[in-house]
Amino acid sequence: MDVNEVKLIRDVIAGDRQAYNLLVRRMLPSLIALAGSIVGFSDAEDMVQDSLITAWRKLSSLRDPGKFSPWLKRILVRTCFAHVKRSRFEELDASGIPGNFPEPDSLMDVQRALAQLAPRQRAVMHLTVIEEMSDSRIAGILSIRPGSVRAHRRRARNTLRRFLEGEF
């Protein structure tokens, strides 16, 4: 995190709307990717919108600018989990990939595989594979222990292996 970003986050914490918009624009693709892995890309933008509004309202509770990104991702993950819980009878929607995505067929294959996993396993896998986070950072975002992160990842990979051996 460079000095400019720290200053930007300090401005955001102080309630600067423009700084918030600027920061959001920078983080948006990775936030949508995370939400897309958990709830599917058809609902991903809505999840991110809800999370950004929640984060804006709760900014006063954030003291350390260095923790803005994991803090925001924690809010997003919780929003996604709540959404999945509300619509627990629906599968992760593999058919609702917006048309502006490159390689939608390949992405649909990925989504179909992710649909085999529990929401928490999807989150662990996304943060491991896409964001290449350490177990302790993942544990901080998901509010679980690093040992649980490893257990979720092991189970997720086993499930994926069983699915993929018949699929690909």
């Binding site: 918009n21 693709p29 897309g36 900014l59 995505f101 594979v129 896409i130 994926l160 051996e165 690909f168």
Partner: protein, 130 residues
């Protein structure tokens, strides 16, 4: 896509996934920021972010301050009349002498507080009655 020779299906899957979910490839709706801007609260007021006990404390302090600032001897304002009525009522013989509340208030008023002094100097209240 670079690691397709890998035989493990999970590793191949993860490689493909990483390619597809690259943040640079994730499209964002054109109106995303406009929609967000519309939904964000217009102005954050730090005052309203105070916890509830702080609000209660502030409100109580404001009321006490208001009483001190507005109570002027001989002033017929409602606050003045109210404090006069309260202090007079404490020593009114018609009130039950054994009720706990007046005695507690009397004890409180017996102290040399600014409120006590203010009440003593009030023309409507005799100091010895307090």
């Amino acid at each position: 896509m670079s690691n397709m020779r890998n035989s493990d299906p999970v590793e191949r899957f993860e490689t493909r996934w990483k390619d597809l979910a690259d943040p640079e490839k994730i499209p964002v709706s054109d109106d995303f920021m406009t929609r967000l801007e519309d939904q964000l609260p217009r102005r954050r007021r730090r005052f309203f972010l105070l916890p509830a006990p702080a609000f209660v404390g502030l409100a109580a302090a404001a009321v006490i301050l208001m009483v001190f600032l507005t109570k002027v001897p001989g002033d017929p304002s409602p606050v003045n009349q109210l404090t006069t009525a309260i202090s007079s009522g404490i020593t009114t013989p018609s009130l039950p002498a054994e009720t706990a509340a007046p005695r507690m208030v009397t004890f409180w008023l017996d102290r040399e507080t600014p409120l006590h002094l203010a009440l003593k100097t009030n023309s409507n209240v005799k100091g010895e009655q307090i």
